[in-house]
C-alpha cells in the first residue's frame, strides 16, 4: 500500500518546470527602526450560539538589536448569530463586523485590527523604518513587508511551490541568501545561509531583504525575522489566560444575575463530542 503511495508522490514530483531565476543578496544594517506587528485571538467564552473572543495586537520595534518599542492593545469581541449572518461587535473599538461563521469571527476581527494597527503605525514612521507583518499584508507600501510562515502555493506539478523553489535555490546558491520572484510583489526568500527554510514574502521592494536578513540571525529560529518571533509571543492569547478571562466573565455576569454556565455547557458538550470524534 505504501509502495502505491510513493508511486503517486512520484507523479507530483515530475519535473514540469525548473526555477532558474535566483538572485543572491547581501546583509544590510537597518537604518531606521524595524517594527513587527502581529495579532493573537481566541474564543474565551463559547455560548453555543454566541461567543466572546479576546484579541490582542502587539507591536515591537528594534533599533539594531535593541528593542525600543513594545506595546500591546487588547480587545474583546461579542459574536452572535443573526438570521444567516454572524455579527460581531468589537470593544472598545465599537465597530460591527460580519462573518461567515462563529468560529472564525475572531480571526476576521484580528485581521482587521492588525491592518488598522499597521495603517496607524505607518502614518507615524519615517522613510527608513520598516514594518514587518505576519502573513500577507493588505496595506502594501514601500516599507511594509509581509512574511508568510506557511503557504499552500502549488507548483504546476502539484508540489509545494516553496518546497520546489527551496530545493533548487539551495542547490544553486548553496550557503548564500537569495530570493526568487513569483510575481505579484511576492517572493520566495532565504533569509539566512544556514536556514533550512524559505518564506513567501510580500513586498514592493526587494532592497529590504538584506535588512530582514539582519534580523534573521537569532538562534531561536535562524532564517526568520526575530521581531516577528517576539511580537508573536507577546500577542498570543495563552491557554491559562483564556481560562482566567473565562472565569472573570462568568463571575462578572453572575454579579449582574446572569448565569452563563448553561449556554457554555451546551457548547462544551458539542466540543467535547468533537474532540472525541477526531481523536
Amino acid at each position: 500500500m505504501l509502495k502505491e503511495l510513493i508511486n503517486e508522490i512520484k507523479n507530483i514530483y515530475v519535473q514540469k518546470e525548473i526555477p532558474k531565476e535566483f538572485f543572491e543578496f547581501q546583509l544590510l544594517e537597518p537604518k531606521g527602526i524595524v517594527y513587527a506587528v502581529d495579532g493573537g485571538s481566541s474564543i474565551i467564552f463559547d455560548g453555543g450560539s454566541w461567543c466572546i473572543s479576546k484579541i490582542k495586537v502587539g507591536v515591537v520595534g528594534y533599533k539594531g538589536k535593541k528593542r525600543v518599542v513594545e506595546k500591546i492593545k487588547t480587545f474583546y469581541a461579542l459574536s452572535k448569530k443573526d438570521n444567516e449572518h454572524i455579527t460581531t461587535k468589537i470593544m472598545p473599538e465599537g465597530k460591527i463586523m460580519k462573518s461567515k461563521n462563529l468560529e472564525d469571527a475572531h480571526n476576521d476581527v484580528r485581521t482587521f485590527l492588525e491592518a488598522k494597527e499597521v495603517k496607524e503605525l505607518y502614518s507615524k514612521t519615517s522613510a527608513d523604518d520598516i514594518i514587518l507583518v505576519d502573513g500577507p499584508t493588505e496595506v502594501l507600501k514601500k516599507n511594509i513587508v509581509g512574511v508568510n510562515k506557511t503557504s499552500r502555493l502549488r507548483a504546476k506539478s502539484g508540489r509545494s511551490l516553496i518546497g520546489l523553489i527551496n530545493e533548487f535555490g539551495s542547490k544553486k546558491l548553496k550557503g548564500k541568501m537569495w530570493y526568487y520572484e513569483i510575481g505579484n510583489n511576492e517572493y520566495i526568500v532565504k533569509l539566512h545561509p544556514k536556514s533550512k527554510f524559505c518564506y513567501k514574502i510580500t513586498a514592493l521592494s526587494k532592497e529590504l531583504f538584506g535588512v530582514l536578513a539582519y534580523f534573521s540571525r537569532d538562534p531561536e529560529i535562524v532564517g526568520y525575522p526575530y521581531p516577528l518571533i517576539k511580537v508573536d509571543k507577546i500577542a498570543r492569547v495563552k491557554e491559562d489566560e483564556k481560562k482566567m478571562e473565562n472565569n472573570k466573565i462568568k463571575l462578572m455576569a453572575k454579579k449582574e444575575g446572569l448565569i452563563l454556565d448553561y449556554d457554555e455547557n451546551a457548547a462544551i458538550m458539542h466540543s467535547l463530542l468533537d474532540k472525541r470524534m477526531y481523536r
Binding site: 528594534y62 539582519y214 540571525r217 537569532d218 538562534p219 531561536e220 526575530y226 521581531p227 517576539k230
Partner: protein, 512 residues
C-alpha cells in the same frame, strides 16, 4: 531589586531569576519580601546557573558554528533570554518581628533584593563579642559587625577549624580580646607557639588596653615583667594527669595508681629515685621491675627531667611557695585571661602541663558546684583554648583512655567550663566529641574529609555550604552555632586592627 522568585520547594532550594547586570555570588544573603503576607525570607545563595529560553541544542549549535567556522549569529533581546538563575536556601523567615524556621517558601515573582543593614538589626542584639564583619559573597558590608553571645556559647564549647594559615589563631585572639572587654569571663590558653601574649615584633593580647587582666605564665618569666614562672613541682601531679595523655599500658597505669596510694605526693619522687629492687619489694612484687624501669624512663622523658630530677618546667624539688595551680585558680577568680606559654617544652610535657592544670580546674569547679552553690555562682565561665586539639582529643589518644579534655567536652558545660578546640584536621576527632562543640568557626577547609566531619557534626544544616567552606579565603569564616539565628558568613577581624579599634572605643577618662 535584583531578582524574582521563579520556583522552588521547601525541601529543595528556591530558584531566583537574576536581573541582568546584577552581581550575585555564592554565599550572598538575599531577602525576599512577600508584600501580601509581610513575611521576610532570608535566603542564602548556594549555587548559580546560567540559563536560557532558547533550546540547549541551538545554543550548542551556535557556539559550535561560531567556534568552528566563525559563523555570524546575533542574539536579540539577549538580556531577557539569557540570564542567571540562582539556587538559594531559606535560612529563616521573619514574621511579625520574630524568626521562624524555613517551613515555607516565597511565592512566584516575589521581589528579591540584596540584604541591607536594617535587615540585620537583630545581629546587634545577638551577642557581645565582636568577631568580624558580615561577609557577603566576596564583598564585606563593613558596617555590619558580627557579635557572638559569650553567655552559654563558651561553656557549650567551640571548634575553630581551618587549613594552616587561614586564621585560626587570629580568630582565637580576636575572640579573647572581646572576652577581655566583657570582664566577666576567664580563659586559659595553652600556647604552643607563644603567639598569644605577643612580643617585641608581634602583636598579642599584651597589647590589649586591658592587659592588666592578662596573666602570662612562661618558663622564661624572669625576662618578662609581670609574668609568672611556669614551674611545676611533681608533688602536685596526679596519676590522672597522665591517663589518656601519655602512652601507658594498663599495667603501667595501675602501677602509677599504686605508687600514688602508697607515697602520696611523693609518688613520682619515689618512682624516680628509689632503687627498683626496693620498689618491687615494697609493692609485694605486684609490679614487675620492667614496669618500674619503663615508667621511670617514661616519666623522665615526658617531664623532661635531667639526672637530678630537674627540668625547664617540672622539678622534683619540694615546693616552698604557692603552686602555679593556685596562681591560676586565683587568676580565674579575678576573671583573668591566663596564657600559658608551652613553646619551649616538648609535646608530651605540654600535654601533661595542660592536663594537670585542667584536672585541678575541673575538680575545683565540680567540687564547688556540689558543695558550695554560692561559691560556684561566683566562679566565672572559663574557656580553655587548646591548639592542635587532636593531640588530646584525637581518636587515637582517646582509645587509650578518658582524659580531662574529653571530660570537659562531655560534661564541662554543667560546670561552666568550655573548650575552644583549634585544629586543622577535625576528621581526626571522634564525631560525638565534634558534635559537643556547639559553636563552630569554620575557616577554609580544602580537605573533603575534614569538611564532611564538620558539616555532619553541626547543629545547623550547612550541607549546602560545602563549596563555600572549601573556597573560604584567609580570615573568612562561616560561623554556625545554636546561639545564632543562622550560619553567619563572617570576615574575621585582623587581630592587630581589632585591638586598635577596642582601644579607640574606650572613652578617655582624665585622671587627677
Amino acid at each position: 531589586m535584583i531578582g524574582k522568585i521563579v520556583g522552588g520547594s521547601v525541601g529543595e532550594k528556591v530558584i531566583i531569576r537574576i536581573k541582568s547586570g546584577e552581581r550575585v555570588d555564592v554565599g550572598d544573603i538575599l531577602i525576599a519580601e512577600d508584600k501580601e503576607t509581610k513575611e521576610k525570607f532570608f535566603l542564602k545563595v548556594v549555587n548559580i546557573n546560567i540559563s536560557s529560553l532558547i533550546a540547549r541544542q541551538f545554543i550548542e549549535e551556535m557556539a559550535g558554528q561560531n567556534l568552528e567556522s566563525g559563523e555570524d549569529f546575533e542574539i536579540f533581546d539577549s538580556q531577557e533570554r539569557f540570564y542567571r538563575l540562582c539556587e538559594a536556601k531559606v535560612l529563616k523567615i521573619k514574621r511579625d518581628g520574630k524568626f521562624y524556621p524555613p517551613r515555607t517558601i516565597p511565592n512566584f515573582f516575589t521581589d528579591v533584593r540584596k540584604i541591607e543593614k536594617e535587615d540585620l538589626d537583630f545581629i546587634k542584639q545577638e551577642g557581645e563579642i565582636p568577631i568580624g564583619h558580615l561577609r557577603l559573597g566576596t564583598k564585606k558590608v563593613s558596617e555590619i559587625k558580627i557579635n557572638l553571645p559569650a553567655n552559654k556559647l563558651i561553656s557549650h564549647h567551640m571548634l575553630v577549624v581551618a587549613a594552616t594559615g587561614k586564621g585560626k589563631s587570629n580568630f582565637a585572639k580576636v575572640f579573647l580580646s572581646g572576652l577581655l572587654e566583657l570582664g566577666e569571663y576567664s580563659a586559659v590558653v595553652f600556647d604552643p607557639h607563644n603567639e598569644y601574649y605577643g612580643g617585641k615584633g608581634t602583636k598579642g593580647l599584651k597589647h590589649h588596653h586591658l592587659n592588666n587582666r592578662i596573666l602570662y605564665i612562661s618558663p622564661k618569666a624572669r625576662e618578662i615583667p609581670g609574668a609568672e614562672e611556669l614551674k611545676i613541682h611533681v608533688e602536685d601531679l596526679e596519676p590522672d594527669d597522665f591517663f589518656g595523655i601519655a602512652d601507658l599500658s594498663q599495667a603501667q597505669q595501675e602501677a602509677l595508681s599504686l605508687l600514688k596510694k602508697k607515697y602520696n605526693e611523693n609518688w613520682i619522687k619515689h618512682l624516680l629515685e628509689e632503687k627498683i629492687e626496693k620498689l618491687i619489694e615494697e609493692f609485694d612484687k605486684k609490679v614487675s621491675g620492667v614496669t618500674f624501669a619503663t615508667l621511670r624512663r617514661k616519666m623522665q622523658h615526658v617531664l623532661e627531667l635531667d639526672e637530678s630530677g630537674r627540668g625547664l618546667v617540672f622539678t622534683i624539688e619540694k615546693r616552698e611557695d604557692t603552686s602555679i595551680y593556685n596562681i591560676i585558680k586565683q587568676g580565674i577568680k579575678q576573671r583573668k585571661i591566663i596564657i600559658i606559654d608551652t613553646s619551649s617544652v616538648g609535646e608530651e610535657a605540654e600535654k601533661i602541663i595542660a592536663s594537670s592544670i585542667l584536672n585541678k580546674l575541673f575538680t575545683s569547679y565540680r567540687y564547688a558546684k556540689q558543695k558550695d552553690e554560692v561559691e560556684f555562682n561566683n566562679l566565672p565561665e572559663v574557656l580553655v583554648v587548646f591548639e592542635e586539639a587532636p593531640r588530646v582529643l584525637g581518636k587515637e589518644v582517646l582509645a587509650k583512655g578518658v582524659n580531662v579534655f574529653e571530660k570537659i567536652a562531655r560534661e564541662g558545660r554543667k560546670f561552666k567550663i568550655g573548650l575552644c578546640a583549634i585544629t586543622q584536621m577535625p576528621s581526626l576527632i571522634p564525631a560525638e566529641i565534634l558534635s559537643q562543640m556547639n559553636t563552630k568557626v569554620i575557616l577554609g577547609l580544602p580537605a573533603p574529609a575534614d569538611r564532611k566531619a564538620v558539616i555532619n557534626s553541626s547543629a545547623q544544616n550547612i550541607s549546602d555550604e560545602d563549596v563555600e567552606i572549601q573556597i573560604l579565603d584567609m580570615g573568612e569564616a562561616l560561623v554556625t552555632s545554636p546561639f545564632v539565628k543562622f550560619p553567619l558568613p563572617v570576615k574575621i577581624f585582623k587581630f592587630e586592627e581589632q585591638i586598635k579599634r577596642l582601644q579607640k572605643d574606650v572613652p578617655d577618662i582624665a585622671i587627677g
